[in-house]
Symmetry: C2
Subunit: 328 residues, 2 copies
């Protein structure tokens, strides 16, 4: 029995829909990570999307799929930052009114980027779930169109376009390493690669501090976690109390999960800066962290690591360089 | 009368020769620079070459063109860092003995990278020209094969492969902005693009502190300059007392030159970090600096900026972030 009414067709359609706004991002070999691991390591540079994160793919696919009536009502979303920026960006291109609800944990650089795009920004609640409650209430009152951050098939299809690009640019891939949070990115990529090349080993990486999806996968149901401060702010938050799609998809398609510590995330960011010449945010460095810490159980020979975004606050970057200078 | 015995054929041949070692680097749109300038700005990411700089192209082409006898004698070079690293890298892949002479001005991160590649490293002389004198003497005594950093047709052909990639990936280009130092990069790119699309406007950018090539172009002969400390360390040094190729080629093909200040170079590096999610060294940021400072006289609509390398010392990066936090 198919899990849900979803197929590769939706991902291919998403690709056509989003092509004018999003980028087919580069997939580049990492010489240093290849030397360290003895495998060929390719980095998928979603930090080079116009909004600095993969979230633009899903948000574009969703907004371009709305009816005129849904667009006219304006869109609302809740986000840990990158999805909100993506929604604000596409909404501004499409002349749609956008309201972006953010918990107080969202760093200032991500708030500023959303503000600059002209969106109505609401910073409410101490964590992601609290901001979500606020957004749900505001949506009910205002009748704006909700653009979910991850638990939505149009969003998943948009993120899944990364999977298509991976297999086109590197048909020899045997392992894909993907940051794991609400599961939109993971569901899209894993669905695409497993349905095209079922033998590909799919690894999800979360931070030790509040890995809601990994806990939920273990329990077989939505587990609410206490959100903790983490360098991987983009991965923070729950997976939605009434999760419909991403938990079952991740359960079906993810072969292995890894948790990384704050120190390992910092090491991943520092490695990307110093050796890859890339600015990568904490939530996007976790795949590199997992490789450097040698925590992945089954590693193939041709491995893609999704670098999901680059919107790291400059003060965090500074701190990592200062600490990195001494420690590494 | 042709300037020299050099044609597009040499550049196309170089491309075939170097393809297994170097990368066809990504050319990515910069949303922020496009918004600032009102033109489409594309960044050519040579900081993503395996050795972190474009120098790998020329060094690979040169070394793979050597005879068995020349290889057997070992190679020697003088470098401000990135060329030396490239030579050491290719030599190690090819099992050729390499001696790299560096002036004391070369930052420690670049020295360490060369050392790690197993090359014989000689840090000698207070500036590039002094290191060059040492290298010439050592070469005469030892009979090692000299691999020039820029004033060599094989080197120029290697760097010229960037020009081919630019026109293939963006045939609509009307302007190309290139860091200008000894002129190897510029000669190669300018020769390629002008001979394929003569109307392309070619802009060279140097730092205000010791722009040897720009002074030499003005004077119509090799001008020796006093080397000054600069964020653009990769661009420091003279253009060779007995310059044969790059001065005449640059004089023939470069339409405009721009000089940028240390502050403008820092702004360029900071912009790349914060808005492009790229780690770029000073000598590679000068094209972005020239755009941000609005110093370029003639700007087209479809512009490529060559980001020539990313090997910035972590302490310099830290300083730029600290100062950038306050000033920008």
């Amino acid at each position: 029995m198919p899990l849900i009414d979803f197929s590769l067709k939706e991902i291919f359609s998403a690709r056509q829909r989003i092509a004018k706004i999003t980028r087919h991002t580069p997939l580049v070999t990492s010489s240093t990570l290849s030397a360290i691991t003895g495998a060929k390591i390719l980095l998928k540079l979603e930090n080079l999307q116009p909004t600095g994160a993969f979230k633009l793919r899903g948000a574009t696919n969703k907004i371009l799929s709305l009816s005129d009536e849904e667009r006219a009502r304006g869109v609302i979303t809740v986000s840990s930052g990158n999805h909100g920026r993506a929604v604000a960006y596409v909404a501004s291109l499409q002349n749609i009114r956008a309201t972006i609800c953010l918990p107080k944990t969202v760093p200032e650089n991500k708030r500023a980027a959303i503000r600059e795009l002209g969106a109505d920004i609401r910073v409410v609640g101490d964590d992601y779930d609290a901001a979500m409650d606020y957004a749900d209430q505001l949506q009910a009152e205002s009748n704006m169109t909700m653009v979910q951050a991850f638990d939505d098939l149009d969003i998943i299809a948009g993120q899944g376009t990364i999977g298509l690009e991976l297999l086109e640019d590197a048909p020899e891939l045997d392992t894909v390493i993907v940051p794991l949070s609400g599961g939109g990115l993971m569901s899209g990529i894993a669905f695409a690669v497993k349905n095209i090349s079922p033998s590909i080993h799919v690894v999800g990486v979360s931070m030790e501090r509040g890995p809601a999806m990994v806990e939920s996968m273990k329990a077989g149901r939505v587990v609410e976690i206490v959100e903790e401060p983490t360098l991987a702010d983009a991965l923070a938050g729950g997976i939605n109390k009434d999760n419909k799609y991403t938990l079952p998809m991740v359960q079906k398609y993810v072969d292995e999960t890894v948790l990384v510590s704050e120190k390992e995330i910092a090491d991943g960011i520092y490695h990307c800066l110093k050796d890859e010449h890339l600015v990568v945010e904490g939530g996007a460095a976790v795949g590199v962290s997992a490789l450097l810490s040698k925590k992945i159980q089954k590693l193939g020979k041709n491995i893609a690591v999704v670098i999901s975004g680059g919107n790291i606050p400059m003060d965090v970057l500074k701190k990592i360089i200062v600490e990195g200078d001494g420690a590494r």
